[in-house]
Amino acid sequence: MLKIENLHAEIDGKAILKGITLAINPGEIHAIMGPNGAGKSTLAYTLGGRPGYEVTNGTATFEGADLFELEPHERAAAGLFLGFQYPVEIPGVSNLQFLRTALNAQRKARGEAELSGAEFIKLARKEANELGLDPEMLKRPVNVGFSGGEKKRNEMVQMGIISPKLAILDETDSGLDIDALKAVGHGINTIMRRPDRAVLLITHYQRLLDYVKPDFVHVLAAGRIVRTGGPELAHELEREGYGQITDEIAA
């Protein structure tokens, strides 16, 4: 589904990603862990196409297409979803309007029929209920006045409505209490744990992986994937910290 080869990227001329190679197949959940400053968020933003994140070398192929040839909104329409560590507040735009515009823009780009207002509201309410977000919050401006947990649940509601092929979730677990963490884990499992979908889960801690069992765990340090293993690797990191790995790189 997603094939990254030798990816190098920089921000403001500063090299952050220094040769990442990674393949994600349908049905797989990959976790990327690593210390602060390793380049985890940069990887997510580079794949999402955020302005300012410059690809200097390497390729990324998504469903057979050259990902870096697509504009950010085209990547979304192709089935890529980027979950934000800090979802943006947009005063003056209701959640419902935002999501309906987004979904219909994607459907239009894929040549599918747009959803009517009634059809959309039904879908949005179902997803909100499923994820424990008060459906009233759909009427409020996007993320304005939402708590950290509500913002992340809102990201999951968006993911449920948009129903992507591949979700790249950037530290979706940061700043969550245990209930919100469970809700987010439940959201990822119900929406994305399917044979035709895949997830790239970026996290600093192993906690979320108690709820979302990864098939592969990669350790990112200093812009490279330095180790890859199964779920047991996450536990090892939790026990021993990143110190040993970063020491190995330094050596």
């Binding site: 979304a76 947009i90 735009v93 948009i162």
Partner: protein, 360 residues
């Protein structure tokens, strides 16, 4: 040749306006062929008045309590407002009287210049709502005098939508004890504009609100200059302006709050925000406070910027095209100012007008 004595950019109060084109516009001849105006009537019960090139069209009006004829706009001291003359329309409501629904006035111009005065006098506890729309081409110049007695309430909403020419309007208001005046302006056409207001809170516990949205593109210049003067204690005022400029447009707002020595416990607030849609556009914001009383609360904020890049990327990451993302965020920026309009039908119509401009 009309002899026009106009202020120039050398006058501080007019430095952002360009009136140099007015003599030529004023000398042109109206075509007398007004554009269709049916879409400008808002679906709401109430009086309706139509002026074509400044001339009242009785056959297409239903004036209700509004009288067409002499009107004193008290604009003698205003450089352009004084040209509005002493005829136009007047609305006088006695104690406790109220208009049924908003008074809608459509001004359509076909070229040249037309001037009208307006006078609005509300007695104690009277209530009125006025909605004006300006369309067409040529120079439309208006001046209005507003006097509100104790606890009277007036809401004014104006749309300036000229395709060409120039639009100028000057308000002078006296707001009595516990009275309330709210003026909301939307400039969303293709012609330059100059809007002036001098609102004086002369009775205690008065309320004044002046604000709106100036939307500019091409080489348009829009300039709003409003002064709220607190002459009595315990007054409240709000000035909320949103200025948008695209291409080579210049949108400017000067908003001043004056608090006289005796106007203790005044609560004045200003929020001026500018949005630059292109690096070649300009927004000027000038918040001013002049305070002679010592126990007042006056807050002001003025910011100019581009659309937030984080928000644009967030929308894009959900599949929304760049053009649509810009339209959504600009709409949200403007919506703030139009949200102050009380009546749903009027607010809806103004929002649709702004959306049409943003989508164009």
């Amino acid at each position: 040749m009309t002899l026009l004595a106009l202020p120039s950019a050398r006058d501080e109060a007019w430095r952002w306006s360009d009136l140099s084109g007015l003599p030529v516009i004023a000398d042109s001849t109206p075509t007398g062929q007004p554009r269709a105006i049916d879409d400008l009537w808002i679906d709401a019960e109430g009086p309706r008045l139509l002026f074509v090139d400044g001339v009242y069209d009785a056959s297409r009006s239903n004036p209700g309590p509004v009288r067409v004829g002499p009107a004193n706009a008290h604009a003698g001291a205003h450089a352009i407002g004084k040209l509005a003359g002493s005829t136009g329309w007047a609305l006088t409501l006695g104690e406790d009287a109220a208009t049924t629904g908003p008074v809608q006035i459509v001004h359509v111009s076909t070229g040249g210049a037309n001037h009208l005065a307006a006078e609005i006098i509300l007695d104690e506890d009277a209530q009125a709502s006025i909605v004006e729309s300006f369309v067409g081409e040529g120079w439309v110049n208006r001046a209005a005098s507003i006097r509100l007695a104790r606890s009277a309430r007036l809401m004014v909403a104006r749309r300036f939508l000229h395709d060409a020419g120039f639009q100028s309007h000057a308000d002078t208001a006296e707001i009595g004890q516990g009275a309330s005046l709210a003026i909301t302006t939307l400039v969303a056409g293709a012609a330059d504009s100059r809007l002036d207001g001098h609102l004086a809170l002369t009775g205690i516990e008065g309320f004044a609100e002046a604000g709106g949205a100036l939307l500019g593109r091409a080489q348009q210049r829009h300039d709003a200059a409003f002064v709220v003067r607190h002459a009595a204690a315990h007054g409240q005022s709000r000035q909320l302006w949103r200025a948008v400029a695209d291409e080579q447009a210049i949108s400017s707002v000067a908003a001043r709050v004056e608090v006289a020595r005796d106007a203790q416990k005044t609560d004045g607030e200003q929020s001026l925000r500018g949005l630059l849609m292109a690096r070649t556009a300009a927004v000027n914001l000038k918040p001013e406070l002049e305070i002679f009383a010592d126990d007042v609360k006056c807050g002001h904020g003025a910011t100019v910027g581009e659309l937030d890049r984080n928000s644009l990327f967030y929308l894009a990451s959900r599949g929304i095209t760049p053009a649509e993302a810009r339209a959504i965020l600009t709409h949200a920026f403007v919506a703030d100012a139009l949200a102050r309009i009380g009546e749903d039908a009027v607010r809806g119509a103004f929002t649709a007008t702004a959306d049409a401009w943003l989508g164009a």
